[in-house]
């Protein structure tokens, strides 16, 4: 089947993107993960990897074209696959026509000039009752529309931990990585990473499930405002999910993100948050024991150049090649300006004081309410894999030989299969 190559969102505020050069020409063979084309933003040229292996066909974007995010710029098709780009485009239009009513509901929200001052009637009433000026409230709805949740969150400025988390949640960078049918998968990355780290895994998911990912506070495109406690991270993610209207999902978390996912899944037992985890997948999770590779944390945070960062990044995977060549460059690019490193240093001081994981998730996993799997690499040099021992027999432990701290990249096919299996089990 032909895979669409789309113009991805590589920058937080990006609505359109300018095509840079293609690294692969029409008709040439391409391997999944190979650099395919560049997007030029105001700041830099970003490289985009091929979403599948095959032959590049139907290239419909040239250098300098300015296109909306999500625009189809070409297709990757099988070697012998019959392919007609016009027909492909026509089929898309036809689908849109037939499903016009449903398409209306799904239509993309295009920012309009008069977006300011939009608010739903409920948001207006709540603002009126609370004596709030709507102009002060940032809208998270389509076209910047202020919805009830925005007013509610605005009304409770940073006080205690959960509220601080909620305020951060509204600002978290988040992205639907793919659309699909059924309950969404929610991906939460680990310390020092960002949501883009899930893309290689996603390409291997057998069923097209909706996939949502976010950047934790102090990571990727999300600022760290105030509180750097573990509870504040959980609160921020909880608020971001609520803001997105996600009330039930399959949680997939890596490392620190795994601990956050476990905390969110456990809240269901309390029943307060309104969020329900349908299943829980913890990849090399943090929070199961005290030790963490403190030399890595310190070195990772201190590194300012390719030469100093690369040796530390090598510790992440048993076979560093599996991480991809771009990871070091991307990590360094994000560190320009220093804000991210500063935020992550603060987080590390709070979460890993004196080289110890200061938060624990074992008590939440004692009696898991949802199907739960833990994936660990036997060669993990960041968090000792033995920490996943001694948990409830209801939790499946998948231990991969020859894999380090990044099973979702190092054994992406296998982990994708496990994610799918678990999502099926979770309903």
């Amino acid at each position: 089947m032909a895979s669409e190559v789309i113009l991805p969102r590589v920058d937080m505020d990006m609505a359109t993107g300018k095509m840079g050069r293609w690294f692969v020409a029409e008709g040439e063979r391409v391997r999944e993960g190979q650099l395919l084309f560049e997007i030029e933003t105001d700041k830099a040229a970003m490289e985009v990897e091929a979403p599948a292996s095959g032959v590049l066909r139907g290239v419909r974007a040239r250098v300098g074209d300015v296109l909306p995010v999500g625009a189809v710029v070409g297709w990757i098709v099988g070697e012998d696959e019959a392919f007609d780009p016009d027909l492909q485009a026509l089929a898309g239009e036809l689908r849109a026509l037939l499903g016009s009513s449903a398409a209306l509901a799904e239509r993309a929200s295009t920012p309009s000039a008069d977006a300011r001052g939009r608010a739903t009637p409920l948001a207006r009433r709540l603002a009126r009752e609370r004596g709030l000026d709507l102009a002060d409230v940032a809208g998270s709805g389509p076209n910047g529309r202020v919805q009830a949740l925005d007013v509610t969150l605005y009304e409770r400025p940073a006080r205690a931990e959960p509220s601080s988390g909620a305020a951060q949640g509204a600002r978290l960078n988040r992205l639907w990585l793919q659309k699909g049918e059924g309950a969404p998968l929610v991906f939460i990355h680990g310390f020092g990473a960002d949501l883009n780290g899930w893309r290689p895994l996603l390409a291997h998911l057998p069923a097209p499930r909706p996939a949502f990912a976010l950047d934790l506070p102090g990571h990727g495109g999300s600022p760290l405002a105030g509180d750097s406690s573990f509870a504040a991270l959980v609160g921020a993610v909880r608020a971001a999910l609520a803001g997105e209207g996600i009330r039930a999902a399959h949680l997939v978390g890596h490392s620190l993100g795994g601990a956050v996912a476990a905390a969110l899944a456990a809240e269901r037992m309390g029943g307060e948050s309104g969020f329900r985890a349908l299943s829980l997948m913890l990849i090399a999770p943090a929070g199961l024991g005290p030790e963490v590779n403190s030399a890595f944390l310190a070195g990772f945070l201190r590194a300012r150049s390719e030469a100093s960062l690369t040796p530390w990044m090598r510790l992440l995977a048993a076979d560093p090649v599996s991480l991809g060549a771009a990871l070091v460059k991307t990590t360094l690019r994000q560190r320009e300006g220093g804000a991210l490193v500063e935020a992550q240093t603060r987080l590390a001081e709070s979460l890993f004081p004196d080289g110890v994981q200061a938060f624990g998730i074992r008590h939440w996993l004692a009696d898991p309410a949802t199907p739960t799997k833990i994936v660990v690499g036997a060669e993990d040099q960041i968090i000792p894999p033995r920490q996943s021992e001694g948990l409830s027999g209801l939790i499946a432990i998948h231990r991969f030989a020859g894999v380090g701290h990044m099973p979702h990249l190092e054994a992406r096919r296998e982990v994708a299969r496990l994610v799918e299996e678990l999502a099926k089990a979770g309903g």
């Binding site: 499903g99 009513s101 449903a102 389509p142 997105e244 209207g245 996600i246 009330r247 349908l278």
Partner: protein, 332 residues
Amino acid sequence: MSEAMRELTYAEAIREALAIALEADERVILMGEDIGVYGGAFQVTGDLVERFGEDRVIDTPISELGGAGVAVGAALTGMRPVYEFQFSDFSMLAMEQIVNQAAKIRYMLGGAVNVPVVFRMPTGSGLGGAAQHSQSLEAWFAHVPGLKVVEPSTPHDVKGMLLSAIADPDPVILFEHKLLYKTKGPVPEGDYRVALDKAALRRAGRDLTIVATGIMTHRALEAASILAAEGVEAEIVDLRCLRPIDGEAIVASVKKTTRLLAVYEGVKTLGLGAEISALVAESEAFDYLDAPILRLGGAEAPIPYSPVLEKAAVPQVDDIVAAARGLAQGRV
């Protein structure tokens, strides 16, 4: 299930209501094309002609204007006629009798006479009947003061509402979706009544309200169980009565859920959904809306004959799921 509560099909429930009314009141007569020996186009009247005779189960000529006129006339003399259209589409031929006569006479004669007639109308698409046998014209009749218009979605409701309609002093139009005739559900024995002005809450939910009628109620319920797996809890209001419309039930539900999706098979523009939307927008529920109101109606086209296109022309479960999902997540 108690002894008095058996499973009947929608068609059997109608037949039982007709039999009870024929038994209880000698003024009740059935009229329509091929409702006698043939048993009705959708086999609803079945063997009633054998049980009650040709004087009370009357085959009428293929002239809807004539048949409906006789029914209205009979009602004026004190009879309680139930006239069956083979397809609601054919009621277009009888609009003069329904809209200009039946609906107006009590008003124009200062209440001196009533017109207690019931028009039964098989409605909707899904059986490959093409453009002239598949329409959903409920909104046309619901626009006319003097008529009562109902569209029951379950065997229980259709029996109770038909008995209420026959007993009612005014003309009642009963829409029966063709795809419902073979659906089964619990139906109490004997005579019972279901009100002609009350909606039914079919499923409680907190995230959005779906207002639907007839077959769409069933599709909305199916959609709701899919949405529930995603954590979206839809509340389903089965409208049942289009005139008078139960605005209170809709407003109460929207105040609770803050979001509204109207689903109906009739053509979207100037249809049932327009009324439901406007009713909510004009009500106190307006200040509770946290998203735009959404209508999911039939395509702006005659119902196609091709089964693929016929399906595409009216809302299906997937369409409802997609629309509700977008609405619940504030992406409209």
